[in-house]
C-alpha cells in the first residue's frame, strides 16, 4: 500500500506515492534523486543525513517520508542561492573543513541550524552543537574554524 506525499524540497514541489515505512532520507536520495544527503549509520548517531525540515535540522533517517507531508525541506543541494555559495559552504572550503566530504552536507546543515539560533557561537558552543555529527577525517579542528568563518561573514552581511 502506498500513500501520497507532497513535499517542497529546495523550493520545488514534489508529489509522490511512497510506502508508509519509507525513510525520508531514502525518499530524498532514491525517489527524488538528490544524493547529496548521505546515510552513515542506522542508529541516528552520525548525522550524515541531516537536512532542514521547516527550517530546523533533522536527521532524515529518523523521519518517515510521510511525516514530511506538507513540509518545506532544504538539502545541501538547495543551500547555495543563485550560484552563490552559502557562507557555511564557503567557510568549509576556505578553512579545509572537509576531507572525504561524506559528513559535510549534514555537518553544514547542522551548523546552519546552530547559527540561526546563535549567530556568534564560541568554540565550545560549536563543538556542543555539532556533537550529533560524526566526522572521522578532520578531527573537527577545521570544522570549528569553518563555522566561525561563516558566523562572522553572516554577521557582517546582517
Amino acid at each position: 500500500m502506498k500513500v501520497p506525499v507532497t513535499v517542497t524540497v529546495n523550493g520545488q514541489v514534489y508529489q509522490r506515492e511512497v510506502e508508509p515505512r519509507m525513510l525520508l532520507v531514502h525518499f530524498i536520495r532514491e525517489v527524488l534523486g538528490l544524493t547529496g544527503t548521505h546515510v552513515g549509520c542506522d542508529t541516528s548517531q552520525c548525522g550524515a543525513c541531516v537536512i532542514l525540515m521547516d527550517g530546523k535540522a533533522v536527521k532524515s533517517c529518523t523521519v518517515f517520508a510521510v511525516q514530511a507531508d506538507g513540509a518545506q525541506i532544504t538539502t545541501i543541494e538547495g543551500l547555495a542561492r543563485d550560484g552563490q555559495l552559502h557562507p557555511l559552504q564557503e567557510g568549509f572550503w576556505e578553512m579545509h573543513g572537509l576531507q572525504c566530504g561524506f559528513c559535510t552536507p549534514g555537518m553544514i546543515l547542522a551548523a546552519y541550524d546552530l547559527l540561526q539560533r546563535n549567530p556568534n557561537p564560541s568554540e565550545e558552543e560549536i563543538r556542543r552543537a555539532l556533537e550529533g555529527n560524526y566526522c572521522r577525517c578532520t578531527g573537527y579542528h577545521n570544522i570549528v574554524r569553518a563555522v566561525r568563518y561563516a558566523a562572522e561573514k553572516l554577521r557582517v552581511q546582517a
Partner: protein
C-alpha cells in the same frame, strides 16, 4: 624552475562538489534495472551450518534470487586470497560466503537479491538457517590456551604463525647485564575503523561483451580487480573494470578485498541485472576489517647512565577468523621493525604469535602496526624515565639517534634515511613551555588537581618498498606506483595516477606538483584516479604512500614529458637541444630568453608534427612506474596535556601540541588537516574506542551507540607545527603525513594520563581510559 604552487596552502579543488552535494559515492549511483543485495549474516561466532532453507525468501514478492556459499563454490568461485605470506603460515580458505561453518558473528551465509533495498532486507529475514552452535573464543591469549575451540582444522592450536625479528641471545645478554629493567604488560585494544561512508558495491555484467564493471568503495581499485579476477572469480583481468569514485574515508578499511563485492560481482551475472549492496552501519561493525588487538609483554634495559641496552617484546596478535588481504604483514613487518623508535637501541628481540579467533578479521587500520609499535616504545620510555627518576623529555633526548648517525641501521631491519629528532622535541617543548608547565603541574597537585603531561616521540615508516625487498619479506605484490601524464594538443594536462584519494586531496596536491614542473596554470591540470578503465595500473593509497610514491611517479613522467618537449622546442628554435632551457612554461635558447616557445606551442606541434624533429614520434605523453629505493621515515614529537578529575575519573585534554617532520610539504593546509584527523583517531583509541566481544564471541560494541567515536566536544583544537628534513631518496623530498597523528597521539595521551595518575602510584592502565576505569583505579589506589 620558479615554484608557484608547491608549498602553498591552496584550498582544495575537489571541494566545490562536496560542499554542494555533488560528490558521487558508490551508493549515489544507479543503473537501469538495478536490483539490491541483502546479506544474511550469522548471529553466531562459531556454528556448523546444518541447512539453509531458501523457500520462504524466494516466495516473497519482489525477490529475484537467493544464493548460498555452496552455490558460489559449486560455480567455481575460489577463496579470497591473502596478499602477504609468512614462513610456515597457516592459510585456511576464506570463501565469500560460509560453506560448512561460520567462524565469526556477521559472517555471510546467504545473499538475497530483490527489486529494492527494503524487500531484500525483508526477505533476508525469511532465509532459514539451521545452525549447530559451537564453542567460540574471541580473545587472542585465550585462543592459545590448551583446549581452546579451534577456529580452523588447519590450525588446531589457533596459531597462524610464529614470527620473530632481532637477535635473541644478544638481547637476553643485554638484559643480564642491565643496571635497571622495566616491564609492561600492554593491551592494544581492538578498534573498528568506522569510515563515515559505509562500504558499498555495485556490479554490472554485459553478456554481449562478457564484460563486468564493478563500482566499489576501494582505496586501490587495481588491486581489487587483480584479486577478484585472477584469484577468486576467474574473470579475465581485461574483462573486469573496477571504478572507485568518491570514497567517504578509508583509514585502511577499504584496502581489502571483501566478500561483499565478490558476491555482488558474481551475482550480477547470475541474475542478469546490475546488483548493488550498501552496508548498513551494523554490517560495517561486523564486516569491515578491524584494527590493532595486540597483547604485549615489553621490557626495556638500561645501563648506569640511563642509556638503553636492549628491548624485548612478545606480542600476541589477534588476526580474527580469517586472514584479511594484508593481515600477516601488519603485526610483523609493519610493527616489530618500528620498535627502535627514535632511539639508539643496541639490540632488540621481538616475537609475534598470530592467532585465529572467532572474530571479525583484523588488518591495517590507520598507522597499521606503527601505532602499536609506538605505543610499546613510548610507554616503555616513560615507564623507565619514572623508574630512573629522570624527566621523560631528557631521558628520551639522551637516547635519541644523533643527527650525524644517518643513514642509521636499526637492529630490526630498517635503515632510517634521515632524522633530526631533537629539533622536533625542542620545538614541541618550547610550544608547551615545558619547564613552566611542569612547575604549574607541581603547584596544582598541591591543590588536589591532577595535570598530566605526556610525550610521544614517534617514528613512522611509509611508502613501504622497494618491491624486491618487500617481495623477499612475503608480499605478493610490488609496491611501486604508476602515473600516466597526457599532454593534450592545447597544452592542457591530464594525469592518471594509481594513487586513490578518499579525502587526501590529491586532485589539489598532485596538480600543484604538475603545474610547477610544467610551468602552467593549475587550472590546466586534471587529476584522474580510481578507474581501471583509464588509469594504467596502480597499487593505491594506504600507508601514507601517495605523496612519496604516487607523487614521485608523476614527477618521473613529467621529466619524460619535458625531455621530449625540449627536443621539439629545440627543433622549433633551430637550436641544439642542450642549449634549450625550460623555465616558467617557456623553452628558450640559453642566454636569449626573449626567443622562446611556450609549453602550449610545443604541445600543439607534438600533435601536428608538421614542423618536427626527424625520427621523433608524434604525441606528448609519458607513463612511469616509480619503485622507491627505501621507506620514508617521518618523525616528530607530540605532547598532550590532560587533567584528570579524581572525583569522576574524567580525562580532559587541555592542550595538544604536534610537531611533525614529513619532509617537504606540498600543501600545508592539506598536511595539517591530515595531522588533525590522525590525532583525533589516536585520541579516540586512548580515551574512547574499543571493540568488546563477550565470552561467546558476540560483538557487543556493534553500533555507533555502543562504540564511542570521538565527537566534536570530546576533542580540543590542536596546536601544530613542523620541522623539515627532506627525504633524501625521492624526487620530491616528501615523506607522507597521513598517519603520523594516529601513530603519535595514542601514546602521548596514554603517557599524559599515566603522568596525571602518578601521585596515586598508578603505573599502568590499559586503554581506553574511560572515566569508570580511572575512577576505579583511583579508588583502589586510595584504599591500598
Amino acid at each position: 624552475m620558479a615554484t608557484r604552487y608547491f608549498g602553498v596552502a591552496m584550498k582544495r579543488r575537489e571541494d566545490p562538489r562536496f560542499i554542494t552535494g555533488r560528490g558521487t559515492y558508490v551508493d549515489d549511483l544507479t543503473l537501469p534495472g538495478l536490483v539490491y543485495a541483502a546479506m544474511v549474516r550469522s548471529p553466531h561466532a562459531h556454528a556448523r551450518i546444518k541447512a539453509i532453507h531458501k523457500e520462504k525468501a524466494l516466495q516473497h514478492p519482489g525477490v529475484i534470487a537467493v544464493f548460498t556459499g555452496k552455490d558460489m563454490v559449486d560455480s567455481g568461485v575460489k577463496s579470497l586470497p591473502c596478499g602477504w605470506l609468512l614462513p610456515d603460515m597457516k592459510l585456511p580458505p576464506h570463501y565469500p560466503m560460509a560453506v560448512d561453518k561460520v567462524r565469526h558473528m556477521g559472517e555471510i551465509v546467504a545473499v538475497v537479491i530483490a527489486q529494492d533495498r527494503y524487500t531484500a532486507e525483508d526477505a533476508a529475514e525469511l532465509v532459514e538457517v539451521e545452525y549447530e552452535p559451537l564453542p567460540a573464543v574471541a580473545d587472542g591469549a585465550k585462543a592459545l590456551q590448551p583446549g581452546a575451540p579451534a577456529v580452523h582444522d588447519e590450525a588446531p592450536d589457533n596459531v597462524c604463525f610464529r614470527w620473530s625479528i632481532g637477535d635473541k641471545e644478544k638481547t637476553d645478554e643485554a638484559f643480564r647485564r642491565a643496571h635497571r629493567t622495566v616491564k609492561l604488560e600492554l593491551v592494544n585494544q581492538r578498534l573498528i575503523p568506522n569510515a563515515i561512508e559505509p562500504r558499498a558495491a555495485m556490479a554490472q555484467y554485459n553478456p554481449a561483451t562478457d564484460e563486468y564493471t564493478l563500482w566499489v568503495t576501494s582505496q586501490n581499485p587495481h588491486v581489487h580487480r587483480l584479486l577478484l579476477a585472477a584469484f577468486v572469480l576467474g574473470i579475465p583481468e581485461h574483462k573486469l573494470r573496477v571504478i572507485s569514485p568518491d570514497v567517504g574515508g578509508g583509514f585502511g578499511s577499504k584496502i581489502f578485498l571483501y566478500p561483499e563485492e565478490t558476491i555482488v560481482t558474481w551475482a550480477a551475472k547470475q541474475v542478469g541485472r546490475p546488483v548493488k549492496w550498501t552496508a548498513r552501519r551494523r554490517e560495517s561493525f561486523v564486516s569491515d576489517a578491524h584494527g590493532r588487538d595486540h597483547i604485549t609483554e615489553a621490557e626495556l634495559a638500561v645501563d648506569e647512565k640511563g642509556k638503553i641496552l636492549g628491548m624485548r617484546v612478545k606480542t600476541i596478535a589477534n588476526l580474527g577468523a580469517y586472514l584479511s588481504t594484508f593481515a600477516p604483514a601488519i603485526p610483523t613487518y609493519l610493527y616489530a621493525t618500528l620498535l627502535s623508535g627514535q632511539y639508539e637501541i643496541p639490540t632488540i628481540y621481538c616475537e609475534v604469535t598470530g592467532v585465529f579467533t572467532h572474530t571479525t578479521p583484523v588488518d591495517a587500520y590507520r598507522g597499521a602496526g606503527r601505532p602499536e609499535a609506538t605505543y610499546v616504545v613510548e610507554r616503555l620510555m616513560d615507564r623507565m624515565a619514572r623508574e630512573l627518576g629522570e624527566d621523560p623529555a631528557e631521558f628520551r633526548r639522551k637516547n635519541f639517534i644523533p643527527p650525524d648517525r644517518f643513514p642509521y641501521q636499526t637492529p630490526v631491519a630498517l635503515q632510517y634515511d634521515s632524522g633530526n629528532y631533537e629539533g622536533a622535541l625542542n620545538r614541541a617543548l618550547e610550544m608547551v613551555n615545558y619547564k613552566e608547565l611542569r612547575r604549574q603541574q607541581e603547584e596544582l597537585r598541591k591543590q588536589g588537581r591532577y595535570i598530566g603531561i605526556g610525550l610521544s616521540c614517534y617514528i613512522e615508516a611509509c611508502g613501504i618498498a622497494p618491491s624486491q625487498v618487500v617481495g623477499s619479506l612475503g608480499a605478493q605484490a610490488g609496491l611501486w606506483e604508476s602515473a600516466l601524464v597526457r599532454v593534450h594538443p592545447t597544452g592542457k594536462v591530464t594525469v592518471y595516477t594509481g594513487s586513490h584519494t578518499h579525502g587526501q586531496g590529491h586532485e589539489t596536491a598532485f596538480a600543484q606538483i604538475v603545474a610547477d614542473e610544467l610551468g602552467i596554470p593549475i587550472e590546466d591540470v586534471e587529476i584522474v584516479h580510481g578507474d581501471t578503465g583509464s588509469v594504467p595500473f596502480g597499487m593505491g593509497t594506504y600507508g601514507s604512500r601517495s605523496a612519496p610514491v604516487g607523487g614521485s611517479a608523476i614527477v618521473l613522467s613529467l621529466q619524460k614529458i619535458k625531455e621530449k618537449a625540449r627536443k621539439i622546442a629545440a627543433h622549433l628554435l633551430e637550436a641544439a637541444e642542450e642549449d634549450v632551457v625550460f623555465e616558467d612554461g617557456k623553452f628558450y635558447v640559453k642566454g636569449v630568453p626573449d626567443r622562446f616557445k611556450t609549453f602550449q606551442e610545443v604541445a600543439l606541434q607534438a600533435y601536428l608534427a608538421h614542423n618536427y624533429p626527424p625520427g621523433l614520434e608524434p604525441g606528448l605523453e609519458a607513463s612511469s612506474f616509480y619503485d622507491p629505493k627505501n621507506f620514508t621515515f617521518p618523525f616528530g614529537t607530540h605532547i598532550c596535556v590532560v587533567e584528570v578529575d579524581p572525583e569522576t575519573g574524567k580525562v580532559k585534554i587541555l592542550r595538544y601540541v604536534a610537531v611533525d617532520d614529513a619532509g617537504r610539504i606540498i600543501n600545508p593546509l592539506i598536511a595539517e588537516g591530515q595531522v588533525h584527523g590522525g590525532i583525533a583517531q589516536g585520541i579516540g583509541q586512548a580515551l574512547l574506542e574499543g571493540a568488546i566481544y563477550d565470552e561467546n564471541g558476540q560483538l557487543l560494541s556493534a553500533s555507533m551507540l555502543d562504540y564511542a567515536l570521538p565527537r566534536a566536544d570530546d576533542l580540543p583544537s590542536f596546536e601544530i607545527d613542523h620541522t623539515v628534513t627532506p627525504c633524501p631518496h625521492n624526487p620530491l623530498g616528501v615523506k607522507g603525513i597521513g598517519e603520523t597523528g594516529t601513530i603519535a597521539a595514542t601514546a602521548a595521551v596514554a603517557n599524559a594520563v599515566m603522568d596525571a595518575l602518578a601521585p596515586f602510584g598508578i603505573q599502568h592502565l590499559d586503554m581506553p581510559f574511560t572515566p569508570e576505569k580511572i575512577w576505579r583505579a583511583i579508588q583502589t589506589a586510595r584504599t591500598a
